[in-house]
Amino acid sequence: MDFAYLSLTELRKKLDHKEISSLELTRYFLARIKKSDLNAFVTVTEEEALAAAKDADDFISSPGENPFLCGIPYASKDLFCTKGIRTTASSKILDNYFPPYDATVTKKLNEQKSVLLGKTNLDEFAHGSSTETSAYGPSKNPWDSTRIPGGSSGGSTAAVGAGLSPWATATETGGSIRQPASLCGLSGWKPTYGRVSRYGVIAMASSLDSPGAVAYSVEDLARLAEVLAGQDEKDSTTSPVEVPAYSKKLSADVKGLKIGVPKEYFVDGMEDGVKQRVMEAIKEYEKMGAKIEEVSLPYTKFGSLVYAIVCPSEVSSNLARFDGIRYGHSTREAKNLLEVYEKSRAEGFGNEAKRRILTGTYVLSAGYYDAYYKKAQKVRSLIIKEFAEVFKKVDILACPSSPNVAIKLGHAKDNPLFGYIADQLNIPGSLAGLPALSIPCGFALPADGQANSLDGLPVGLQIIGPQWGEQKTFNAGYAYQQVTDWHKKHPGE
């Protein structure tokens, strides 16, 4: 039997009705992972997965209700700490790191008796938008293996896109869920900042990091959000705002919904096919009775510039902890303590991590702090204000998730500005802490030549909501997926 691409609700039913066991399901996905050559995983946890599946089957056989994710396999971005299971952040500096504790997200999924299949590849420390900065080589796009899956959560989207796992955890700092979800034809959820705990998620830029998920539908994402979201005493930036029963409140009625289309999000250099598919999706909303209104967010173009300062600043601070003494790679060449630091870090970090640490160190150093960091954080306040103003007029925003479909492997590498340009439509929302989705809205031919498939490559529609407005974005995404079936298209079918 074929279990790839089934929704979480369908898998739940099959498990509850004993049509299949968690062990069979787990073996099925482990076999698919073995056959895949997309380099989606850094570590496959076969032994642990089989044991967890047996445990879940015992639980299902015992009386009482099963947690929603009980016995359902998943993959986790290798940035989420998993106790006793290698967690690398796709960096050589953590090549042999076995965390002594679980991330809060991992803990919640363990409590549900989910089955972890393995840890997925990412750009080193999530620094990138293509997975090409990973110390373990790039992952490949399941629609065309000569192209990037996007990033940094590209291992997660390659795995779910290729049907190697029913869903996966992912994280965003500035586009790392939306962009790869878009490029791999998946539904991705970037939560409001502070909605999902960052505890145990290896830090990139702490004022932006937002753990989330990728799956096949908005309905699945709403179910996952109910599990993943909530205040955590171990992350003081998580919010006491109550977590609604998102999936129970899902509504496909968008009559009268005010959708803003920000004109600045249709940037120069955007591929025509991407623009067309997104405009068609917006038309679809109009047909369903939503009110479409063009809006303006003039500071959009400064988003990536602010990010190019704020992100490396926080990175340089967060990566200071890798000192070669307490955990992680330690040099064998040092004569004194200073050399332990300098050489361990030189040997352990890749090019992108080094560049971001150096950039951050520079803009935070004496004499430059005011001109760069302070200035950027002030401009950030303008971006936040401008979103707040626009959400007084409209309920949600609709725009593209990425200016282009997946590009060829190798083109992003060593371009210091690649990520800032690839994520320019995601970064402003991240700076303002807003929740957003990327959902599949069709296919377009790439500007850089032939695609494997005649229809082209997946295009993502981005839906942005106000802070804590997850329900609004879920409803809008759900409504679209009731009248279209782009989210049901999978590679090789």
Binding site: K83, G84, F98, P100, Y101, T192, Y193, G194, E233, S236, T237, S239, F302, L305, A308, I309, S316, D323, G324, I325, R326, Y327, S330, N336, L337, L338, E339, V340, Y341, E342, K343, R345, A346, F349, K354, R355, I357, L358, T359, T361, Y362, S365, Y372, K374, K375, A376, Q377, K378, V379, R380, S381, L382, I384, P416, L417, Y420, L431, A432, G433, Q467
Partner: protein, 95 residues
Amino acid sequence: MNMLSKEEVIKIAKLARIALTDEEVEKFRTQLSTVLDYVEELKTVNVEGLEEVSQVTGLVNVQREDKVVQAENHEAIFSQAPETKDGYYKVKAIL
């Protein structure tokens, strides 16, 4: 484009505690200059009277009760260290 000097890159690398090869100094000199050039346009934005924002959801001074808890995973934590002695991390002599 304003290029950083070789000496500036070496100074930053020293602050960041990363040993760089001569080739890396040259590479990062160009790449950092590209990034700094890219953000130059921020200077055109008028930010007079604006506050810096780093916490976007408005939480202020979140505190928890100051109580002692026993960590039970000493062994797992120390197992990750390259060198330990008598339950301490071992480092090279500083003096």
